[in-house]
């Protein structure tokens, strides 16, 4: 027996060793792919989460309509919600951004082996929006390898010029050229630029000095910073502030009245909060903002009101129009000192993100940061001078180093991980004309031009049924919004996530996103037929991209799947609302075709609609009546399908519901809960189009697979073991004759995770629906999913 064990062990090891010899060379590429997938996956999760957050607010609004006694909650007006209106891909890793009135600039490093991680070269480039490209202006090589978060490449804008600190040396860049280079031998840390001087702190904060803003020649000898080190400097309206850490752990804000001639008076500053460092400081007329790192609360944004706080703003607005107050304080500057004797009170601003960078917009401030917890993405937050958040946070790419700047008609955000520069419109308007790079001021658009602008924010197409061999299910993925038709998914422009697509490839990356506007990758070269026209198709970094233009609007379909499937997916797109094609993969019960719904409702005497001249017409029903109708249908679903007693309550969660939909929470016999969304497919006739757990976990795709037997005997659903949540997976299927079959399809911890519910194919000549939900041992619903089985005459198969 021992010999057999030995033979067995040697045999298996020989097989393994032979195989891994072929694997070793692919490790770096595989490592890179894993990192990319991890980041993309996290990005998808956060998109869902943010959509859910927004949807929850809408749901609250919905509830208030149903319950007049409820306190009304309203969303900020659409016009005040910022939106990403353009996205530019840079082949470098951007680490900072600055905007002047006539251009937008980025600084960055070369792409390292692991994406953004390690770089050897740096570059400063100017965005050329007309060419959708970046024009390099300045470049060089680091002394060693660096991380982008080492921030050895930073930009500042002043009076139309750009000041770039690259690996410790300073350059002034005009629109077209590098006008001056130099800087202190000690290297630069933070700088502040006025019309009179460039005030710098040395790389280690131990020295400070002044340069001519035009020539970058020294205008005073460097002087010691005294005890401690200077971490940040800022200059505004003749007031100069330094953030200095002389008594750890708290840095102090110190006003320096005459920075060029007199050393600051040490020890009379305003102490902030104990921390390990600081990342940024900005000063407006009303407020000083500081990002402190490593406080007890983590990285925080600190607000220090200046006195008086009612001082008018003199900073440039996003339009790039500067005020009259110059930084040296010579022109009409309000008297807004931050003085130790004024005893300003620093306070920590509550943020939904961990702050990374800030930029002033008048007295407001824009903060870019990482969303917390497992949801790792970057978000942009807009604050008023009091620190109150304006609007909702906006997703601005995957987690990683980021920077923000205001000017040239927008808010600009870089994302090192995604290698993107995003333009954000603070007003949330539809895509605006690209920023001009001309020296001439842009003429205001005439009213007629404004009226004829095209709104490309709605994606006018959806996935159709897949051809033979491919599943019809779309969505149900980790980032999808379960139960909501694709056309109604409420993800923010420009990326619309279509969720995961089960195309039967057995792969793991069947993900589709739609980018509205400029594609994030160079278009492919192959022409394929899409939606009756021609689209460009080609490979991208880790998938395929179909570049489609429809009615003057451009869309990029990012398809992370095999080439064959990506091609088929694109070729089978259908226009939204095309009645000849079943493009709603979500409706689950009992019908999702209007005509079927009509028949069902009519047969069940359950509708208050009528059919005139072959057209369904809507009876006059107010919102409350429609909600009651939907609630009744939800109750029917609870009793007929789930076997629950059912007691629908208006949903308090995660759907951004259009006017023709209603959401309810159902309560089961064990006080378990499930959310359902119903849609009014025909007037006053409501149908369940989505189900989900009451506290939906977007990280838990159910991942069903649907198939049929080649002998035409049965259709089944198998559930992969890893997708079973809790203890039981229950399955309900409905046949076209209206009968329903139920089973416990899978039980975790046993080998019974592959049960198949069968239906005679003689009943399967039209779509049939299924619902699956997972329960724990107490009967709580953990997740739920549904869909239609592939259409077609199965009996003929």
């Amino acid at each position: 027996m021992d010999d057999f064990d030995k033979i067995l062990s040697e045999s298996l090891r020989a097989v393994r060793d032979e195989h891994i010899q072929t694997v070793t060379s692919s490790v770096p590429a595989a490592r890179r792919e894993v990192l990319q997938r991890v980041r993309r996956r996290q990005f998808r999760f956060v998109i869902t989460s943010s959509a859910v957050t927004a949807a929850a607010l809408v749901a609250v609004l919905l509830i208030t309509q149903v319950k007049p006694l409820s306190k009304k909650t309203s969303l900020p007006p659409a016009s005040s919600r910022p939106a990403v209106v353009a996205s530019y891909y840079w082949d470098q890793t951007p680490t900072d951004v600055a905007a002047t009135s006539d251009a937008v600039w980025v600084a960055g490093t070369s792409r390292g082996e692991l994406g953004y991680i390690v770089s050897t070269n740096w570059q400063v480039a100017r965005l050329d929006p007309s060419q959708e490209s970046f024009e390099p202006v300045l470049s060089g090589t680091f002394a060693g390898e660096v991380m982008p978060e080492d921030a050895l490449t930073s930009l500042w804008a002043s009076e139309g010029d750009i000041y770039a600190s690259m690996d410790g040396s300073l350059s002034r860049i005009t629109h077209d050229d590098v006008a001056a280079s130099g800087g202190p031998e000690v290297g630069t840390g933070d700088i502040a630029v006025t019309s009179e001087f460039v005030w710098y702190s040395s790389a280690n904060g131990s020295e400070t000095g002044f340069l001519d803003p035009k020539t970058l020649e020294p205008i005073s000898d460097p002087q010691s910073a005294g005890p401690g080190s200077i971490e940040q400097v800022a200059s505004f309206g003749g007031v100069n502030l330094e953030l200095k850490r002389s008594k750890a752990p708290s840095p102090e804000l110190i006003r320096v009245d005459d920075p060029k001639g007199v050393a600051p008076e040490f020890g009379h500053g305003t102490p902030l909060f104990p921390s390990q460092g600081s990342a940024a400081m900005e000063m407006s007329a009303a407020t000083v903002w500081v990002i402190e790192e490593g406080t007890e609360s983590g990285d925080v944004l600190v607000r220090v009101p200046r006195t008086p706080q009612s001082a008018p703003s003199t900073e440039p607005s996003p339009s790039g129009v500067a005020g009259d107050c110059d930084a040296a304080g010579g022109n009409d500057c309000p008297e807004t000192p931050l003085n130790p004797s004024d005893d300003p009170k620093p306070e920590i601003v509550e943020l939904p993100v961990r702050p990374l960078d800030i930029a002033l917009d008048g007295d407001d401030v824009w903060v870019v940061g990482n969303a917390g917890g497992d949801v790792e993405t970057n978000q942009l937050v807009h604050l008023d001078p009091s620190g109150k958040m304006i609007g909702e946070p906006l997703d601005v790419g995957n987690v990683g180093p980021a920077a923000v700047a205001v000017g040239n008609g927008g808010v600009w955000v870089t994302n090192a991980n995604d290698s993107t520069l995003l333009k954000v419109d603070p007003e949330g308007a539809s895509p605006s004309p690209e920023p001009t790079v001309s020296d001439e001021p842009s003429p205001d658009p005439s009213p007629s031009e404004t009226q004829t602008s095209v709104d490309c924010s709605d994606v006018p197409f959806t996935p159709g049924f897949f051809p033979e061999g491919m599943s019809s299910n779309v969505g149900l993925g980790s980032g999808g919004q379960e139960g909501v038709p694709l056309s109604d998914q409420a993800f923010g422009s420009p990326v619309m996530h279509w969720g995961e697509v089960d195309v039967g490839s057995g792969g793991y990356g069947d993900v589709v996103d739609v980018v509205v506007g400029e594609p994030p990758y160079p278009p492919g070269t192959e022409d394929i037929e899409v939606l009756g026209g021609t689209a460009k198709f080609g490979g991208i970094e880790d998938g395929y991209m179909t570049d489609i233009t429809i009615d003057g609007c451009r869309y990029a379909l990012l398809e992370y799947m095999s080439e064959d499937n990506a091609r088929k997916f694109a070729e089978n797109l259908v226009f939204e609302g095309d009645a000849s094609v079943d493009n709603d993969g979500f409706a689950i019960w009992p019908r999702h075709e209007p005509e079927d719904a009509y028949l069902y409702c009519n047969n069940n005497d359950n509708a208050g609609f009528s059919k005139k001249n072959g057209q369904l017409t809507q009876d006059a029903a107010d919102e409350d009546t429609r909600t009651i109708e939907a609630m009744a249908a939800a109750g029917l679903f609870a009793t007929d399908v789930l076997g629950w007693t059912g007691d629908p309550h208006p949903i308090e969660a995660p759907y951004d519901l259009p006017a023709d939909q209603r959401g309810f929470t159902l309560t089961g016999p064990e006080q378990n809960h499930m959310n359902v969304v119903l849609r009014e497919l025909v007037p006053s006739c409501w149908f369940v189009t989505g189900v989900s757990p009451a506290d939906q976990d977007p990280n838990s795709p159910t991942g069903l697979s649907v198939g049929k037997d080649n002998k035409g005997l049965r259709v089944g659903i198998s559930i992969a073991d890893r997708n079973i949540q809790g203890d039981l997976a229950k399955l309900v299927m409905e046949t076209p004759d209206g009968s329903r079959l139920r089973t416990t399809a899978a039980e975790a911890g046993s080998d019974q995770d592959e049960a198949v519910l069968t239906i005679p194919l003689t009943q399967m000549s039209s779509p049939t629906y299924f619902l699956i939900y997972f329960e724990d041992q107490d009967g709580n619903v953990l997740n739920a999913d549904g869909g239609s089985l592939p259409s077609g005459d199965f009996a003929a198969g």
Partner: protein
């Protein structure tokens, strides 16, 4: 007048540490796990997919994963579970989705006759028995560790190993269990 003011280096220690640790863990584990998955599945492409999926799922929950005491053991457990899932899913797909070439698994042919027989016999074992055999004789895990990996009792592991070896013995025409059966 443009915006002026402070802006300085941003130390994103957490992200840097995370990515570097992921890279290190990946390099330490990838080749071994590919070998394990290949022996389990008998298909190089499937093995690659399974291992990549394991890394993606595991590292996506980084905040949970980084707190683990034995990350390599955890990764191995994920790979084994995914292999078992894939095996079962294959079985279902073969049956339900009418794959006419049922059982015609694409397998690289080893070049040693004895290895062919033994490995082929291992791959014919039910998935749990196969997992027990591979973890015991390829990964050198104890029965306790196998039980932990497969989330079952040690008694189950013992019985599965016994049955597996009996089947392997029958396939090879030997009695390898030491029993009289």
């Amino acid at each position: 007048m443009e915006v002026t003011g402070g802006k300085a280096r941003v130390d994103r220690r957490a992200e840097r540490q995370r990515d570097r640790r992921i890279a290190v863990l990946f390099d330490e584990s990838y080749v071994k796990l590919r070998g394990l998955a290949f022996v389990m599945l008998g298909d190089a492409s499937a093995a690659e997919e399974v291992v990549m999926e394991a890394f993606e799922k595991t590292f996506s929950g980084w905040n949970r994963f980084r707190a683990l005491e034995h990350p390599h053991a955890y990764l191995r457990q994920v790979v084994v579970n995914l292999c078992r899932s894939r095996f079962r899913r294959q079985k279902i797909e073969h049956r339900v989705n009418a794959l006419v070439h049922r059982g015609d698994l694409q397998v690289a042919e080893p070049d040693v006759a004895g290895r062919i027989d033994l490995w082929a016999a291992v791959r014919e074992l039910p998935e749990r028995q196969r997992a027990c055999i591979v973890l015991r004789y390829l990964e050198d895990l104890s029965e306790i560790d196998i039980a932990e990996t497969l989330d079952c009792s040690t008694g189950t592991v013992k019985s599965q190993l016994f049955k597996a070896k009996a089947k392997l013995g029958r396939a090879l025409g030997e009695d390898v269990t030491g029993s009289d059966e």
